[in-house]
Symmetry: C2
Subunit: 240 residues, 2 copies
């Protein structure tokens, strides 16, 4: 195994997987997908940044049909992103139908074309069972389909499958991943909202790993502003 294709979103997990792959393999190519999610624009900018930094070939594949035809609140065409922890049933509406299946299938065709031996996907132990195309059984089945449907012998590599996001951040620190240049928030604001499922997870990973979180969360600023407001009398009340 010396030539791999990394699925790169520009979030914490896949960016760490990219730095890890560059260390492990001779030739690394990265592929990102612009499928019309609310946060695509933010994360793809960082994906490009890391590839440039690491001198890695980077291809961005346009899948705009997903935003036009698919039903999911993660997409620009969908409804609002819910706040709160992932475990909540409400996060189900952010599932993009068969997204990993589509991305892995495209990666398989691309990998065969460039004669890569493996596809790296940053699936990890903390991935949620509300996403059917993150589950172990699905991964086994799609690997089988790729194996049977191509001439090549392409392995699906999941370097983080036995560790969680906290351990990924710890590993990332040893790899010197500049996490200030990663994006997670599903809402796609310029700064991370701090309240959606992915923001909650991002915060937790840094807190639990004991590594300083370089992220500006909108929610933190709002909290600060509120506590500041409570402490000091309002301008209006002074006048009255």
């Amino acid at each position: 195994m010396n030539k791999v294709l990394v699925l790169l979103s520009g979030g914490i997990d896949s960016t760490t997987a990219l730095y890890d792959a560059v260390k492990k393999y001779e030739t690394v190519t990265a592929v990102s997908f612009n499928y019309g999610s609310k946060h695509n624009k933010r994360e793809l900018k960082f994906a490009a940044f890391h590839c440039k930094t690491l001198n890695v070939r980077h291809e961005v594949i346009e899948l705009s049909f997903m935003n036009n035809l698919f039903k999911s609140d993660l997409l620009k065409s969908g409804g609002d992103i819910p706040d709160g922890h992932y475990q909540e049933q409400s996060m189900k509406q952010t599932v993009v139908p068969f997204r990993n299946g589509i991305m892995l299938s495209i990666a398989a065709g691309f990998a065969e074309s460039i004669e890569a031996d493996g596809i790296v996907i940053a699936a990890h132990a903390g991935d949620h069972t509300i996403y059917p195309d993150c589950r172990e059984e699905f991964m086994t089945a799609i690997a089988q389909a790729i194996n049977l449907g191509t001439y090549a012998n392409i392995k699906i590599l999941r370097p983080f499958i036995d560790i969680d996001k906290t351990a990924i951040v710890k590993l990332g620190q040893t790899l010197k991943v500049p996490y200030q240049y990663t994006y997670s928030c599903y809402k796609g604001y310029e700064s991370h909202c701090g309240n959606c499922g992915t923001c909650v997870e991002r915060k937790e990973a840094f807190q639990l790993s004991g590594i300083a979180d370089p992220t500006d969360y909108i929610s933190d600023k709002e909290e600060q502003a509120e506590s500041h407001q409570e402490e000091s009398p309002q301008a209006d009340s002074q006048v009255d």
Copy 2:
């Protein structure tokens, strides 16, 4: 099963599958892919024609990255299409890496989004083993991946899996499929070349089914011109 999504290229097989589906199911949607093959432009025009005729919703999904990034002589970016029968090893260079895997994966996500129960693919008994993603084992594996990777219970329907192209044409005649509005030639010329693997198969299917072939083949015209030339003295030789 009353709502299906038909994979429609605009060739003989998938066009027949569309007419067949319209007869069998309550709601039919068709999806075509513009992936940069030499003949896409020709076949997609016919795909759109049939959907309009049958009053079927038709979506054309742009996959231009395949032409840019994938390696295959079927693509505009690839080399010349070989002449001769499919069985020949030379046709291997027309395989587009994991094309059916990619199309079925996208169809799965779209089918889940529109709540379709099945995806119709016109795979048939004559499909060639040089295409790994046409084989039975692959179809079983991708069906399994789709089943595990979505919330829905989407079946992959292969109505022609036990019949060959000759039988498809016979069925098409009973369904009144206007085959003059279908396109098969891998070379993508305005008229069918008559010499490439798909043209050879198209000719054979009409000949063996005993149904008049409505296709204008360039090779037939050339043969006629040559035989005409042999019979009548050349203008030049008359002068000499």
